[in-house]
């Protein structure tokens, strides 16, 4: 029989050491957190990465400008369309072309549908992480309707590939507008149920209010973006600051909150879902007729230089940085993924909280591990 090593359990300072993950229900994937506990209180958190590293960036150096986009659907799999859009926009920037207006509108609608479905999954998982199982099924009811639209549009439900350099891969399905409107009606009707089952619950408020506080200064210095940063009062919505696709043609509010706690992050996302619905409503009836794709050469070659494009994914700012040496595939590629920076603020937020708080914080940062570790 092997003997027990005391240091595996307790540090000389009397802290209880626990490895949370890489297989753990609430790390949402293969994230490994090393915890130093004092009873139930978290003294220190150390995220360990590398369990799902597929070197997508290195792989892309050997793929053509048309092909490398498809690998990005496997990064943030809840926002595959938005990842693809970011890459397509970067390549378009390099080629000096623009997508036709029809493609721009459809891209925006699809992006917002993606944001809705991603936030719905997040909402369900947040409930699940806090111990309420039922919200998960409510969230999946609407998400399923959106997935069916995605399936009809591009043939895939999870790792979708629809945005290509120059526009869209194929034109939208004739049913597209009708079905999107149906889904919006369903979602608007069911928002009240979301609030009834989770938002107004006293246990939920106790679990999230004044938990996992992230100050505005910390949010900026850790490079936190997206709803997580906006809940701390940092205005960082790329759709507002650097509009792309058709975002300059719609009216919407950037949701800001100053709470900085889990509840603020929760409320920002809840309001963002309503904003997404409003954005889609403004665009869905006005999709211009015309081409869905600009004509491009069979083999794309970017001119020598560096190109950068950022987009707003449901988790924050996704940046695509391409260095080209004039060949048919990128010389170097780098993704600035939102999840990685957001995760780096986790030790600050979780310090001094309980284990339950750590779970609530991870849920409200909305971690997607393949996005953190590419």
């Amino acid at each position: 029989m092997r003997s027990l090593i005391a240091e595996d359990y307790v540090t000389p300072e009397g802290e209880f050491v626990i490895n949370m993950g890489p297989q753990h229900p609430s790390t949402h994937g293969v994230l490994h957190l090393k915890l130093w506990l004092n009873g139930e209180t978290v003294n220190k958190v150390e995220p360990h990465l590398g369990y799902i590293h597929r070197s997508i960036e290195k792989m892309s150096e050997n793929l053509s400008y048309r092909n490398f986009i498809f690998a990005t659907s496997r990064m943030d799999y809840l926002a595959a369309h938005i990842n693809n859009e970011a890459c397509a926009l970067t390549v378009e920037k390099g080629l000096g072309i623009e997508a036709p207006p029809r493609a721009k509108y459809v891209r925006t609608i699809i992006s917002e549908l993606t944001r809705l479905s991603s936030h719905q999954l997040w909402w369900g998982c947040t409930g699940l992480d806090l111990g309420a199982v039922t919200p998960f099924f409510y969230a999946f009811r609407e998400r399923e309707a959106i997935m069916e639209i995605m399936e009809e549009t591009c043939g895939a439900r999870l790792t979708q590939n629809y945005m290509v350099p120059g526009g869209l891969m194929v034109d939208i399905h004739p049913n597209f507008q009708k079905r999107v409107k149906e889904v919006l009606t369903l979602i608007k009707k069911n928002f009240n149920e979301y609030d009834e089952i989770l938002t107004g619950n006293v246990i939920f408020e106790n679990r999230t209010k004044e938990v996992g506080y992230l100050s505005k200064e910390d949010a900026i210095s850790y490079g936190v973006t997206g709803p997580t940063a906006r809940a701390s009062g940092v205005s960082c919505d790329i759709r507002k600051w650097f509009p792309y696709s058709a975002y300059d043609q719609v009216q919407f509010n950037e949701i800001l909150d100053t709470g900085g706690d889990c509840y603020a992050r929760y409320m920002v996302r809840m309001h963002e879902m309503r904003e997404s619905v409003s954005i889609i409503e403004q665009l869905i009836d006005n999709i211009p007729e015309g081409d869905y794709q600009t004509k491009t050469k069979a083999v794309l070659k970017l001119p020598k230089g560096e190109f950068y494009q950022r987009v707003e994914t449901p988790r924050g700012e996704l940046g695509v940085y391409i260095v080209s040496d004039g060949a048919a595939s990128p010389y170097r590629i780098k993704y600035r993924s939102p999840g990685f920076s957001n995760l780096s603020a986790l030790p600050v937020m979780a310090k001094g909280g309980k284990i339950g708080d750590l779970v609530a914080i991870m849920a409200t940062i909305d971690l997607v591990i393949p996005d953190i570790d590419r």
Binding site: R2, N206, K354
Partner: protein
């Protein structure tokens, strides 16, 4: 009060006794035979009950979660739970390498045996009780608290950090919530003047305590349901398991029938606390009567007392399941502050109020 019964379990028990007495003349042997029959039928009843509760929980959960629940194995999915039991029976009863093997295997037995023991003084129907002990309430509250030893043992012996944390949480939780459960029970003991569960049921023949006892008894009923939900480690108080935090807590390392023992005891405990709540607050097997409505009361009397008891129990079981599938989980410090800062002071004041009520005779 004369309650006519068309068919009663006590009559059945008497018939069996007379039949056996005709067969066996030896007094000692007769008693032993009867106890063996009783034990076997009790275990069979509990296993069937747990099958039903497992099925009910899945259907209730599915009903709340806009899905169907089990509906493939057997009619309406009723045999799904049997299939699951067969699966658990066939699984290897794994004992982790570095665990304390003796305690690890003992813990599930302690947990399941204590929850079965608590069944003894419960009156299932009119004059149908395994053991009419004169300190029934005291017996129930003391025996049920032994279960925490089993849970602590399971957490410690598993040699798993999460199990240990879960067990420690569970220890703190059960010991705290025992107090509120005890004080709520005492409120009825004060009013009825007896610790015997059958006496408490008979004291409600002219009205259930929840109707007779005004607002203080309603408060202690609510506290009893909340605190006993916490005591049996069910959501939203399932700190000890807390899948999302502790990956299953004290039963992380258990598999096969050893795990099924914990599951069995969870359902038996659920039944026991609901049965106790039904017995002391909702009149046990007493039918529902409205003063003055003679014909209505007469019709109510025709429903067998066993069904009255089970109906009330399952009503409370449904409420506890409803909690589980709609509430998020509390945090461990909030759980303890709920007990020590709110429930316990309220039940203390409530007990004083009820004592005054009993002295002044302010109840019906």
């Amino acid at each position: 009060m004369n309650i006519p019964l068309l068919y009663s379990l006590s009559g059945l028990a008497r018939t069996i006794h007379i039949w056996l007495a005709g067969l066996i003349s030896n007094e000692m042997l007769l008693l032993t035979t009867e106890m063996v029959i009783m034990g076997i039928s009790l275990i069979a009843f509990l296993v069937l009950l747990c099958f039903f509760l497992g099925y009910m929980e899945r259907r209730v959960a599915a009903f709340m979660e806009i899905r169907l629940g089990p509906n493939r194995v057997g009619p309406k999915g009723t045999l799904q739970i049997v299939a699951d039991t067969v699966k658990l029976l066939l699984k290897e009863g794994l004992t982790p390498d570095l665990s304390d093997k003796f305690l690890f295997n003992l813990a599930p037995l302690i947990v399941v045996i204590t929850s079965m023991l608590v069944i003894a003084p419960i009156a299932f129907a009119k004059d149908f009780q395994l053991w009419d002990i004169n300190i029934g309430v005291l017996y129930v509250s003391s025996v049920s608290s032994i279960a925490v030893i089993g849970i602590l043992m399971a957490g410690w012996a598993s040699n798993n950090k999460y199990s240990l944390l879960g067990a420690m949480r569970s220890g703190a939780q059960i010991v705290s919530y025992e107090l509120s459960v005890g004080l709520s029970l005492i409120s009825i003991v004060i009013l009825s003047g007896s610790l015997s569960l059958s006496d408490i049921v008979y004291s409600q023949s002219n009205g259930w305590w929840i109707f007779k006892g005004h607002i203080p008894i309603i408060i202690s009923f609510v506290i009893f349901v909340v605190a006993s939900t916490a005591e049996i480690n069910r959501a939203p108080f399932d700190m000890a398991e807390a899948d999302q935090e502790l990956t299953g807590g004290f039963n992380t390392e258990y598999a096969g029938m050893k795990f099924a023992m914990f599951l069995l005891s969870e359902y038996i405990n659920l039944f026991v606390v609901s049965a106790i709540a039904a017995t002391i607050f909702l009149g046990g097997w007493m039918p529902f009567h409205i003063g003055g409505w003679e014909s209505f009361n007469h019709i109510m009397d025709y429903i067998p007392s066993f069904f009255w008891f089970m109906g009330k129990t399952f009503f409370i079981i449904f409420i506890i399941m409803w909690f589980r599938w709609t509430f998020p989980r509390l945090r461990v410090d909030q759980l303890l502050s709920l007990e020590w800062k709110y429930l316990l002071p309220i039940s203390m004041v409530n007990t004083i109020l009820i004592t005054v009520m009993a002295i002044m005779g302010w109840h019906f």
